[in-house]
Symmetry: C2
Subunit: 209 residues, 2 copies
């Protein structure tokens, strides 16, 4: 069932060599056609405006605005845009954010060519695809409860070595409340103390290096 017109693709990744390789590989498939590339979020949105591709392949880590923010802006302007995240991160939080921001799929860069092509077709058809291995991790972590915005804020400060009293001052709340937030973090992240909580934050993708 060869389609009459190939799926038109926009590649977004800050690594030029990867884009080149990807374009090469994908163009070998008659059903796919790379029509544009971009190396950051701003360029990605401009390229979408100009070319109106069928699917965008989008990386998470980019200089300037990151993949999630790029996705948010794109979908504000083009709510129907189909985007497949193609990244090296397997962090559950990255996956959740991407899907929440309207990504049609999420695969890691270690996928084989055939899987990638299949994922592109799925996303183009409007179906959601997530790598098997990635999906498992997401399922494993979400059991333990979602981290609220405030808690994430607190975790970011705990990471910087602030005490509960300092947390309170910085957030304009009492030390008690700060303590409560830290306590909630320990439970949700299944950590014995703030040090382990920070480690879990990095493991889950809540914190970035």
């Amino acid at each position: 069932m060869a389609p009459s017109a190939p799926i038109r693709l926009l590649l977004v990744d800050d690594h030029a060599v990867l884009r080149a390789g990807l374009a090469n590989v994908l163009n070998c498939d008659a059903g796919l056609r790379v029509v544009a590339e971009a190396d950051d979020g701003t360029a990605a949105i401009e390229a979408w405006r100009e070319h109106h591709p069928d699917v965008m392949l989008l990386d998470l880590s980019m200089p300037g605005i990151d993949g999630i923010e790029t996705l948010n802006r794109l979908r504000r302007e083009f709510p129907a845009a189909r985007v497949l995240m193609l990244t090296s991160s397997e962090a559950p939080e990255d996956v959740r954010h991407a899907l929440a921001a309207g990504a049609g799929g999420y695969v890691t860069k270690s996928v084989r060519r055939a899987e990638l092509v299949a994922a592109i077709r799925e996303v183009h058809a409007g179906r959601e695809v997530v790598s098997q291995s990635v999906a498992e991790q997401v399922a494993a972590t979400q059991e333990s409860g979602a981290i609220s915005r405030r808690e994430l804020e607190v975790l970011g400060l705990v990471r910087q070595g602030f005490t509960n009293a300092e947390l309170g001052r910085l957030l304009g709340i009492s030390e008690r409340t700060a303590k409560a937030h830290v306590g909630a973090l320990l439970v949700k992240l299944q950590a014995a103390d703030r040090a382990e909580a920070v480690a879990r934050g990095f493991e889950r993708g809540l914190l970035k290096a």
Copy 2:
């Protein structure tokens, strides 16, 4: 000064699409020739045995044995092997380990094609090359003192939420000593408490997600 024989390259990276792209880009240069590829450390060493290339382009993050260990094993067998690290990590610790293990150079995947080619030529000629941006970070962190093996071990346990007393038990030392190690970590990592120490560990590449 076109050389009579092109530099023969071995690409090692677990992302097939990146290898394909890299091979494509590099083969466009008449002075370079990709003679083999490998997707993990074991395959990399076998490929070196078989092809005896001039330079290996090696990624850090790989399934099974990682880039550093691959480099160690390769250089035990072929001490004169020239290896250029090509990775996405800018963590100072990764850079230090790679150079200590005998890498001839270290560049990130965001380098432009021309810089990459230049780096390959440098490494082939036996000169050490490190990306400007990466070199700065390495210089910035090594002032604060090197972390000893024992301290790194302790940091790994602190990350898991162990108390000083537990550290002592696990390491077969007294709680006092464990405390001393943690104290040394706080000073060297410029951290106010163990939570910040863990964060610094991730930032520097001492700890991996």
